[in-house]
Symmetry: C2
Subunit: 236 residues, 2 copies
Amino acid sequence: MLNRNSLKDIELYFSEEIDLDNNTIIIKGDELKHLTTVMRHKPGDKIFVTDGKGSLFETVFEKAAKEKLETAIITTTCFKNNYQNVFFCIPLLRNPERFEFALEKSVELGITNFIIYTAKRSVKKNVKAERLNKIVLSAMKQSLRTFLPSIIHLENLAAIVKNDGEFFVLHQGAEKKLKDVRINREKNSYFLFGPEGGFDISELEFFSNNDFYKLSVNRLRSETAVISTASLLCTI
Amino acid sequence: MLNRNSLKDIELYFSEEIDLDNNTIIIKGDELKHLTTVMRHKPGDKIFVTDGKGSLFETVFEKAAKEKLETAIITTTCFKNNYQNVFFCIPLLRNPERFEFALEKSVELGITNFIIYTAKRSVKKNVKAERLNKIVLSAMKQSLRTFLPSIIHLENLAAIVKNDGEFFVLHQGAEKKLKDVRINREKNSYFLFGPEGGFDISELEFFSNNDFYKLSVNRLRSETAVISTASLLCTI
């Protein structure tokens, strides 16, 4: 039977101001504006809120003032982050739209940790942190997920490989297939993607041949490799 | 060992004017312009050309006139289209960028047949055929593929389900998982995606419960479902 009663038609809001003692949530800023001005919710309406830390709250709109809105928690559902030890390491790409698309799709599919790095062949050098945070917040809500992704920026690949964990470097010339990978959830797993021109030879030397994985014998754009990897890891 | 000598660094050109009797290829139009004006190739340069029907020609730039360029075929490699019976049925989406991104990524991953349809909940109604043809041509060349994808436009879902074959309708509420699907290469397989608001209830009635498949328990945007499906089917 097709389940038509899933959570597919709700809107999800984000708030960090959860008062569990009083069973209330305060909603402010852009979230408040969307809730009242765009969606025109009124007191008594059911409002779904996440804290971005794994909890989904079913609440009721109680009262609104100009700067904040209060809802009453009815039920709380806690989710587990299956990908808490998975890190997607994406270089700055020449085309910001392609970069943002890769980020958005990865969040929709369930990835929650991003490391943006400047590859040797990255052309663009600056990270628009505020814009990227908005994209991941929006993608989290869109896909009804409850973990707000974190984005950090590291200067280069050398700073990434200092971390403890397993490295999975996506490369067309690899022998091993990413499809066959079963990640070890006890360890951190770093998935590394190259920029438009590919990794520089000095970057490849951080890794052993054992670290390389392929998705296709064909050439894939950076953002395609990112989204395909997220699809392989996260689809059920 | 990491294979650094794959075809990853070539440019690929497209021509339908392959003269096998004389072992020559004529290149015209945009392809000619890119080859001479942008890439500044000269007589003697090695040029890779595909006919979009499965053949990859390694050729040498022989001579150029204003309107056409002639290359001499050195070697010919024929590929098999593993996805010749796979049809991706994508509705017109409100946001043309998201639609075009889904199309581009699917081509990069190996899908070669597209049916664009106007869903009950499609907002946008017109198909920019010329623009879409350019996108799939460019994605084919980018990913070094040799099958030029075909795009047809059908009025609605009813016109699609008239076809003979198996139907795979992507739906968050399905019980079966797309990941478990093994397509029958002897039959046509139609993968159907819904628009932003999902399928209309009258559209769902074309199918039996057996036709529905899910990618995630989370809500995915239309273009994410398209790209994830292509990733699951086509990555090696």
